[in-house]
């Protein structure tokens, strides 16, 4: 049923990347009868090929092509060649993700107006509002089967959640529950319900967690209008003399270069590869890279204020059993500057297996203070802290001056410095996270530093004015009419919430726009 398209078929829409943004967009367009080719750099591993083994899974799915880092963030010290933990495989990072699916709050679409001017922060309101997004959020929640929406019950709480909930109750937090998760709590959409296996980050072997790999992509393929070409790494987007894009050059599984023609190109390679591709596509007409008249491509890189708190108890917890992100406290997600910072954060349970815990609890640590913590691994509870970080123009994905990848193209460098607002928020979050656990008798708590970025945002941001950003409110580039950005790099600002629900909602909305423009003959 899969539609094979010719390389020189210039009527197809080419989507680059098959993750949350690209996989959703590809299916939505195919459902409307648009011919789509998704080019995906990674291989196709169906869910029975996933493994309950952290490092083996990482080797199977993660994006391991060389990247460099700079700036004062700890990730640059601890993981100099791994700025981000994201995926290179069909399904993109929706294979690895935990499933937390939260809508942005109204004010988070207009932070410049709400927060006012903040020194060094390149704040801007989104060109769209929550009201405009609501119907698309509703479609995304239905598509992904998000618990606590559409009458879908919440997931049952596991041990890690029960510790969090008891602490939250003691502290007087009101908004603590097992989350809005794109994980089936009952059989739905031809997929199993969650078996509480505890390996959400390694790909769900039961298909209970939504991933484009086994939802959007096969549904799109079933229309006969979508071809997904795996092991197809796009190197460059090409354009004609008039400036419109005409297709892409990619390396196939054998490393041979192929040229796929296109009517329109949608970039959804996640927020490091998407700007890198636009920059690597520089030409004599566009010497600074495609869609970069504003100079904002690659800039304003955001990764969310993150951190974790782990805690030890005198009695067993066994946090690793059950969903990785098993519950949430939302009380701190409001914007309330009396806490000493703008914006808010979420507290979400998190668990790592022993191998990852050793690598991430306190990167670089050694000796008894560290190993006694691991000795009590089964007495440990944990949470992740995720909040809005400030966009800064100097935080950027740029092309490395010397180092090249396996295709001979400059590798991306990811530069990041925390903003003072990020630091103040993290300190607050560490205190509150520890307080939750102290309230139920923790014997030791750990303010764990950020992991390599799982939420990568903002490097091709939306703006009302072409001079402020890269794309408009539909993800269409300001400069080139048939070039779109369809992933988290569109985000004008990051919000406190995990981004994927918003990425999916934007992709559904963008598909409507593209199909409409095509039917009007303007695309």
């Amino acid at each position: 049923m899969t539609a094979p398209y010719e390389l020189n078929d210039d009527s197809v829409v080419v989507v680059i990347g098959s993750g949350a943004g690209g996989g959703t967009l590809g299916n939505e367009l195919a459902q409307k009868g648009v011919d789509v080719v998704i080019l995906e750099a990674g291989g196709r591993h169906e869910y029975d090929a996933f493994t309950n083994d952290e490092w083996a899974s990482f080797g199977q799915l993660a994006w391991l092509d060389n990247r460099t880092t700079s700036g004062s963030w700890l990730v640059a010290r601890d993981f100099p060649n791994l700025p981000a933990w994201i995926v290179k495989a069909v399904g993109g990072s929706t294979t690895h993700w935990a499933g937390a699916s939260l809508r942005f709050q109204e004010h988070e679409f207009k932070v410049r107006t709400t927060y006012g001017e903040i020194a060094r922060a390149n704040l801007l309101d989104w060109p769209i509002t929550l009201q405009e997004m609501e119907p698309y959020y509703a479609k995304a929640e239905d598509k992904m089967g998000v618990t606590r929406t559409n009458g879908i019950p919440g997931l049952p709480g596991n041990n890690n959640f029960k510790v969090m909930k008891a602490g939250a109750d003691k502290l007087g937090y009101k908004d603590c529950h097992t989350g809005r998760m794109a994980i089936n709590s009952q059989n739905r959409d031809g997929r199993n319900y969650c078996q509480q296996s505890g390996f959400c980050f390694q790909g769900c072997k039961f298909g209970a967690k939504w991933s484009t790999l086994y939802t959007e992509i096969p549904k799109g393929e079933a229309t006969g209008k979508l071809e997904v070409r795996s092991n197809a790494h796009v190197l460059q987007i090409e354009h004609d003399d008039g400036g419109k894009v005409t297709g892409v050059v990619y390396a196939d599984a054998e490393g041979n270069q192929q040229r796929q023609k296109a009517r329109a190109v949608c970039v959804a390679g996640n927020s490091i590869e998407s700007p890198r591709l636009l920059l690597n596509s520089a030409s004599s007409k566009y010497p600074d890279g495609l869609a970069n008249s504003s100079g904002q491509v690659g800039k304003n890189y955001m990764r969310h204020m993150t951190g974790s708190v782990y805690a030890l108890f005198d009695r067993p917890v066994n946090m690793y059993r059950g969903t990785t992100m098993a519950g949430i406290i939302q009380d701190e997600s409001r914007h309330d500057t009396s806490r000493g910072f703008a914006g808010g954060y979420e507290m979400e349970t998190l668990s790592l297996g022993l191998p990852f815990m050793a690598a991430f609890l306190q990167p670089g640590a050694w000796g008894r203070s560290f190993t006694t913590a691991l000795d009590a691994y089964d007495h440990m509870a944990g949470m992740w802290l995720v909040g809005e970080d400030m966009p800064q123009e100097s935080n950027a994905v740029s092309l490395h001056g010397e180092i090249k990848d396996q295709h001979g193209l400059p590798v991306p460098n990811v530069h990041f410095d925390d903003h003072p607002n990020d630091i103040a928020m993290r300190e607050h979050a560490y205190r509150q996270g520890a307080a939750v656990y102290d309230a139920v008798g923790a014997t030791r708590t750990f303010p764990t530093p950020p992991y390599p970025s799982t939420h990568n945002l903002g490097t091709n941001r939306m703006s009302a004015k072409a001079s402020d950003g890269v794309v408009n409110g539909h993800g269409q580039s300001h400069d080139i009419q048939n070039l779109f950005v369809s992933d988290g790099s569109q985000f004008t600002t990051g919000g406190a919430e995990n981004p994927t629900l918003t990425i999916v909602a934007l992709a559904i909305r963008q598909a409507d726009f593209i199909a409409d423009q095509m039917s009007k003959g303007v695309l």
Binding site: V163, Q195, Q196, P316, T371
Partner: protein, 182 residues
């Protein structure tokens, strides 16, 4: 409440019997081309590195990530990769030999007559590690070890981590919510 079975896969009884009752914390024996446990429970062929170097490397690994419930053989397995790499790569061999020689030199300064392994107290050895903890040698060993030690499935039960669960149907009927003290 169901807690994880913390016994190693190799039954503790059999293991202790095989190793003469002294599983951990005893001096390693070196002879030509071999490092072995004093009881002969395990032995490791070492040809690229000096056997004494490997024996010290094993102690060094334990001092970086000390777990009293983990036998030497797991530390030996965790650092074995350096022997394999040294066999292929002279530069790597030099890094290891020189790094260990430096440990012995620092131990002599601290009063040991028998190198790093001759320092009886962990605290004395740890003091040396602190003094070299920013060197590339230390960072290479530690960065490698954090994966090669903790990624051994055989030791996971000692920490109460149960590993793969999908093959057992997840934890939905096996205690995902069985905490009883909260």
């Amino acid at each position: 409440m169901k807690t994880a079975d913390k016994r190693p896969k190799l039954s503790r009884r059999g293991f202790l019997a095989a190793s003469g009752g002294a599983a951990v914390g005893v001096a390693l024996v070196t002879s030509a081309g071999v490092v072995s446990s004093p009881t002969g429970a395990w032995a490791m062929e070492v040809t690229a590195l000096k056997p004494e170097t490997m024996a010290t490397l094993i102690q060094f690994a334990r001092d970086i990530y000390p777990h009293d419930q983990i036998a030497d053989r797991y530390y030996a397995k965790a650092v074995k990769g350096h022997e394999e790499q040294a066999a292929k790569d002279e530069a790597h061999k030099a890094i290891i030999e020189e790094g260990i020689a430096e440990l012995d030199r620092l131990a002599a300064e601290a009063g040991s007559t028998d190198g790093y392994r001759g320092l009886g107290w962990e605290a004395d050895r740890t003091a040396i590690l602190h003094s070299i903890s920013t060197t590339p040698f230390f960072q290479t060993i530690r960065g490698n070890l954090v994966v090669s030690l903790y990624n051994q499935k055989e030791i996971w039960p000692l920490f109460g981590f149960e590993g793969e669960s999908a093959d057992k149907g997840g934890y939905i009927t096996r205690g995902f919510d069985d905490i009883d003290w909260i």
